[in-house]
């Protein structure tokens, strides 16, 4: 799923379980318990982004972007193929919220997703640059590899911030 750069300047939309690798703008909307993970190599000004839904694949291989345990190694591999080095890659994590308190008490998928991604990044010696996770809030993310790997987070109330 390594894309060539889209011709227009509209960010490439990444749906649940999808990922992209490149230097073009990428975006994903409405993260609840899902995770938007970005990896960025400042030396090559290249990045990758994935919309992860669940922590464990349980052996399923049809949609590697959907699960933390398959998505993280895959993104790193894709970047290494393009010449990136593990030690120069910077990761940012967004999402992992608990949108419904009542259902969330028994089964906080958002928290488990974020925890799993952190462990995997550590295992692969990837530096975690910043994160905006948890709480009870939906988030949309735009990733701009060509602009220093900037990660912009928007919320439903109209507020936004940049993850440095």
């Amino acid at each position: 799923m390594t894309d060539t750069q889209p011709r227009n300047s509209q960010p490439s939309m990444i749906g649940i379980g999808e990922y992209r690798v490149g230097s073009f703008p990428m975006t994903t909307i409405g993260l609840g318990s899902c995770i938007g993970l970005t990896l960025y190599d400042p030396n090559l000004r290249l990045g990758a982004m994935v919309h992860i839904m669940l922590p464990e694949s349980g052996g399923r291989a049809d949609r590697p972007g959907k699960y933390a345990d398959t998505a993280v190694p895959l993104l790193i591999k894709e970047l290494i193929v393009l010449g990136c080095k593990n030690r120069s890659i910077i990761a940012k994590i967004v999402g992992g919220a608990c949108m419904f308190e009542y259902f969330g008490t028994s089964l906080n998928i958002g928290e488990r997703n974020a925890g799993k991604v952190r462990i995997l990044l550590k295992e692969h010696h990837i530096q975690l640059g910043a994160e905006d996770v948890g709480g009870k809030v939906g988030r949309s993310v735009t990733f701009l590899p060509a602009d220093g790997g900037r990660v912009l987070v928007r919320r439903a109330d109209g507020t936004s911030n940049s993850l440095l």
Partner: protein, 203 residues
């Protein structure tokens, strides 16, 4: 997950009956006429969920389907934030539109969701002869996609696509637009189709 035309028609008819009951209760609560759309059925790939649910701010009251199938999926009462303010204004005798939603608004939304979803499930369950009960309600007022995505993530049966079955309920007088959305687990859907097909055969 491919549905035949006959199966779609049967589910639509089921939705009509459920939504008609929900519309009646909403009509009573608002003291106004409610128009109801033909139920829409979409089989949605997870990656394309954004085509159906966006970044818009909405109030969603979610219920897990319980009863004859313990974790049967979810039913939601969905209403855009603007419509939610107009609805609680109508119910609570207020007029200001540009205001934050208070705890009183939240209680009112949960109550409306509860009454409508219960009416919807009562009617469909009676028709099917199959018990579907709503769990206690859970409310979120945030990005629609974020809420929907979170429910899909906690579905019991691992899936790459979901069936969204929605009926629009609108009130022109107060400019209120809402939806009842059902998202059954695959096994629940198969069970519902089976019951509907048996009904057609025996009638």
């Amino acid at each position: 997950m491919e549905l035949s035309t006959v199966q779609k028609d049967a589910i639509q008819e089921l939705g009509n009956i459920g939504a008609a009951h929900a519309a009646t209760t909403l009509s009573q609560m608002l003291g106004s006429t409610i128009e109801m759309s033909v139920p829409a059925i979409h089989v949605v790939d997870l990656a394309q969920l954004g085509d159906y649910m966006g970044e818009e701010s909405a109030a969603m009251v979610a219920f897990e389907l319980q009863g004859d199938i313990p974790h049967g999926g979810y039913v939601l009462f969905y209403i855009t934030r603007e419509s939610a303010v107009r609805m609680t204004n109508t119910m609570l005798g207020m007029t200001k539109l540009d205001r934050p939603l208070s705890e009183m608004d939240e209680s009112a939304l949960i109550e409306v969701g509860n009454i409508m979803v219960s009416a919807f499930l009562d009617a469909t369950a009676e028709l099917l002869g199959f018990i579907m009960l709503p769990s206690p309600p859970a409310l979120t007022i945030d990005m629609a996609h974020a809420a929907m995505q979170s429910l899909i993530a906690q579905m019991q049966e691992e899936t790459n696509e979901v069936l969204l079955f929605s009926t629009e309920l609108a009130c022109q007088e107060f400019k209120i637009d809402s939806d009842i959305i059902m998202m059954p687990e695959r096994s629940t859907l198969i069970k519902i189709i089976e019951l509907l097909e048996n009904m057609v055969k025996t009638s």
